[in-house]
């Protein structure tokens, strides 16, 4: 072994040790190793470049070690206040997918049923020609783009400018509709302004963390380890309120299980108790809160072209109180399966004026046919008690994707959105037209298709051209049993930009080879309103290009070149500088590029050179101008809204024929549909395939043992997968759970495409299935 190789091996051994230490730190916060062991890795010729992690909405800061133009190592960024040097197993191994042997390096065009490698320029010509031709023949609303909460800010921005400003159609939506839309409508209806008011530093101050249907130990592992650290150090308490026992439940101080959908009733019962026991913060409520009720029996969106518009009616505190009489702990305990004692226990935590409480949630509350309502209801609890917008006190809606906030929500890659505001608002359209330098009439004032309806329109033949970027809808949509054949239809020309082949690229007419995360420059925005920037770190293989650049190239070919005057080398920065004009001002000002380059992210509103950590609180937020301690300036009168929202059942509940609830979700090892993480050998080996978790008693009744194949069937489709009993998670009796990362075991063939009528976000957590041994 020559000297270089020996050095190399010793370097890799240090890396391996460091990776184990990082993993150990997430299991045992505060764990220490002898000093001489952690002196760090020899730097060699490595250059460490900063950026955000590719994988989840926590937005950990990473440092990528680059040597001779290759990414060879990843470590947590100790300067990032998000993760303070820690990473989870996905974050640590992220760069290992880049070199996967089936990486998409060149454009592929389907010719006579076969994919033919094609020069990228030619493929982009074809995409532009098809798009133009389709518009000419069938109108602007016959073409669509479907992007992602993993698109960078510049990628989302040019997609919006291209579709809404150049072509003039609102046929743009994104996969964040499937994960975050209810959070958005929750924020807008209650506060008139999107995104959480607090920040991760809340973790260092809270006495209680109450997680609502949120398995943070697996989904937000670095934040969860920060919470565990506070539990161990200061005795902070974690209460897990969920429908299934998970790793998070096991690490919490208390686990409370509820019957699916009844979180609505329990939240109301908590408010009932708060009022009954005199725990209302009267001064706060009088000064800062209005009461509204909305429509009821609002449907589930199961039929094509479903439409619904909520109507708010003002009510008073007494009317709200009378409404809550239906939600006494005794009444709610009967159908929620949460004991009266536990409901009172939760209410007492929120009601205690001397305890600081943060509520965390993510998909459990958002992927819910009453997703907007349950978001409103948890805000009600915090508003009644005045526990909001202060360090350690507040409701905190977490995101799943790394830029669901930064791109999907802030840039606004939804059909109804613009980078600032909504298409239905004339002033917002005028601002967009001014910055984009397009005639205001070109931006249509009516939203068109949200995600589910967009794929229904493909199925009906109404959409004849669709371009997907950074997403894999044929694994992630609900009821893929309908949408896969829809996308295979001749009537729609499908363009897929991606890094690896997926079941979605399998049905594409053109596949465009996208740059991966660190092969391009960009910005992401995480769950705590933190914008993080990174510079291109390595060259991508073959003819790969950033998605933003491919959109620009197609726009140019369609005659919109003057709207996209950016340079290839520097387009991400040029686009960001244009974009931040939309958010100027104290309420949403974004940090300038120079700041983002220097530090590990900045939280908006970024005002007078400072991040605003707690919005709506005059002590921290310069946008508060009402002269009071709090100012909910998203609403015209500066007051937040407590919403009267009832419990309504799920659209499909277990029956004699389909006796189980099906719940779906993620596992720590895999990111979303697994297209990246399943190409990382360590992660793939740790979790090679999906499975169906059953309660041991249900398994016994059905004669099913661990590992045996079972068939899970709904009215929409079925899937055969191995049973998992007493392994990672434990569903309650009468419930089964399957992760959705495995494209070979497609649980979304089984799920239902019912959605929240207000947010249009589908419910992946509840439908009725039967389970049979095969």
């Amino acid at each position: 072994m020559n000297n270089t190789l020996t050095n190399r091996r010793s370097f890799i051994k240090k890396m391996a040790a460091l990776s184990a230490m990082t993993a150990a730190a997430s299991l045992f916060p505060g764990i220490l190793f002898a000093e001489e062991q952690i002196k760090g890795i020899p730097d060699g010729d490595l250059e460490w470049k900063k950026g955000p992690c590719r994988f989840c909405g926590v937005g950990c800061g990473i440092l990528v070690g680059v040597e001779n133009g290759k990414a060879v190592a990843v470590k947590g960024d100790p300067n990032s206040s998000v993760n303070k040097g820690l990473l989870c197993v996905k974050g640590y191994h992220q760069i290992m997918c880049i070199q996967a042997s089936d990486r998409l390096k060149y454009a592929l065009v389907k010719k006579n049923g076969k994919y033919v490698e094609t020069p990228l320029d030619e493929a982009l010509d074809l995409v532009a020609e098809k798009m133009k031709d389709t518009i000419e023949k069938h109108g602007k609303d016959s073409v669509a783009m479907y992007t992602s909460g993993q698109s960078t800010i510049p990628e989302g921005y040019v997609a919006s400018k291209f579709m809404k400003g150049a072509i003039g159609t609102n046929n743009l939506d994104c996969n964040a509709r499937l994960c975050m839309a209810s959070a958005v409508t929750g924020f807008l209806t209650t506060f008139g302004a999107d995104e959480p008011m607090g920040c991760y530093e809340d973790i260092d101050h809270a006495d209680y963390f109450i997680t609502w249907g949120n398995n943070m130990a697996e989904m937000h592992p670095v934040l969860f380890s920060r919470m565990l650290e506070q539990k161990n150090r200061r005795g902070a308490k974690i209460i897990d309120f969920a429908t299934r026992t998970t790793r998070s439940s096991m690490a919490s101080n208390k686990s409370i299980l509820f019957e699916p959908q009844t979180d609505l009733a329990v939240a109301n019962a908590i408010c009932y108790e708060i009022i009954k026991n005199g725990w209302v913060n009267k001064k706060f409520v009088e000064e800062h809160v209005n009461f509204n009720k909305g429509l009821t029996n609002i449907g589930y969106g199961l039929e094509d072209k479903f439409s619904f518009k909520d109507k708010a009616t003002k009510i008073n505190f007494e009317e709200y109180k009378a409404f809550l009489a239906d939600y006494t702990p005794e009444k709610v305990a009967k159908y929620s399966r949460v004991s009266v004692k536990d409901i009172k226990y939760l209410a007492a935590i929120y009601g205690d004026p001397n305890k600081k409480v943060v509520s965390y949630w993510c998909m459990g509350m958002n992927q819910h046919t009453r997703g907007t309502w349950i978001n409103n209801l948890v805000y009600n609890i915090h508003l009644l008690t005045g526990k909001i917008s202060q360090p350690g006190n507040g409701p905190f809606s977490l995101t799943g994707q790394p830029s669901a906030c930064g791109t999907a929500r802030e840039v606004g890659t939804f059909t109804h959105k613009l980078p600032k505001g909504v298409v239905t608002n004339k002033k917002h359209r005028e601002l967009a037209a001014k910055i984009w330098k397009v005639p205001v009439d070109r931006i249509p004032s009516k939203p068109t298709y949200h995600a589910t309806e967009m794929f229904r329109a493909v199925d009906r033949g109404d959409i004849k051209f669709i371009w997907t970027q950074v997403t894999n809808p044929l694994v992630s949509l609900p009821k893929t049993s309908r949408y896969r054949p829809a996308m295979e239809k001749e009537s729609c020309f499908v363009v897929v930009s991606d890094v690896f082949p997926t079941p979605t690229s399998d049905v594409a007419d053109v596949i465009l080879p996208a740059s991966w995360h660190i092969e391009k420059s960009g910005m992401y925005g995480n769950s705590e309103r933190r914008t993080q920037q990174w510079d291109k770190m390595i060259e991508g293989p073959g003819e790969t290009k950033p998605d933003a650049w491919m959109t620009i190239e197609v726009a140019k070919r369609m005659g919109y070149g003057d709207l996209f005057p950016y340079s290839e080398e520097n387009h991400a920065e040029e686009i960001y500088n244009e974009y931040i004009q939309f958010h100027k001002g104290a309420k949403h000002g974004m940090a300038p590029l120079e700041v983002l380059k220097e530090q590990s992210g900045a939280i908006w509103p970024y005002v007078n050179g400072k991040s605003t950590q707690w919005r709506f609180n005059a002590e921290y937020d310069p946008a508060c101008t009402n002269g009071k301690d709090f100012h909910f300036y998203g609403k015209k009168d500066g007051k937040a809204v407590i919403w009267q929202r009832p419990y309504e059942p799920a659209p499909e509940v277990p029956s004699a024929e389909y006796p189980f609830w099906l719940n779906t979700g993620r596992v720590i090892e895999h990111w979303h549909t697994g297209s990246m993480t399943r190409r990382i050998p360590v992660l793939h080996k740790a979790m090679p395939n999906a499975y169906l978790e059953l309660h041991p008693e249900d398994a016994k009744t059905l004669g099913i043992s661990n590992g045996e194949n079972v068939k899970v069937t709904s009215k929409r489709g079925s899937c055969i997968m191995p049973a998992s009993i007493n392994e990672r998670g434990l569903p309650t009796k009468g419930q089964v759970f399957a992760p959705f990362f495995d494209e070979n075991l497609m649980i979304n063939d089984v799920t239902i495409d019912a959605f929240c009528p207000i947010s249009k976000e589908p419910d992946y957590k509840k439908c009725a299935v039967k389970v049979e041994k095969v």
Partner: protein, 79 residues
């Protein structure tokens, strides 16, 4: 030529015994945590077969409760 790292959880009160047993194995480097019942093991072997054998050997140590792999690198191929 695989290099792997593991988290080794000892049986109750057996951290020292596990440390000693693992340290005796030539291909293992062991880093004990100072304040938790946990050891980090980095293994360095010449082939996958050797690595598999080594893993079996480690798993047979009485004082070991659980061995979980954290990362694996195969050098110099993946360098």
């Amino acid at each position: 030529m695989p290099i792997k790292s593991y988290l080794a959880h000892p049986q109750e009160d057996k951290k020292q015994a596990l440390f000693e047993a693992l340290s005796k194995i030539e291909q293992c480097e062991v880093i004990p945590a100072k304040n938790e019942d946990l050891l980090i093991v980095v293994t360095d072997t010449n082939s996958q077969e050797e690595e598999d054998k080594l893993k079996k050997l480690m798993e047979n140590i009485d004082s070991l409760k659980l061995l979980s792999m954290v990362s694996g690198f195969n050098t110099p191929k993946n360098d």
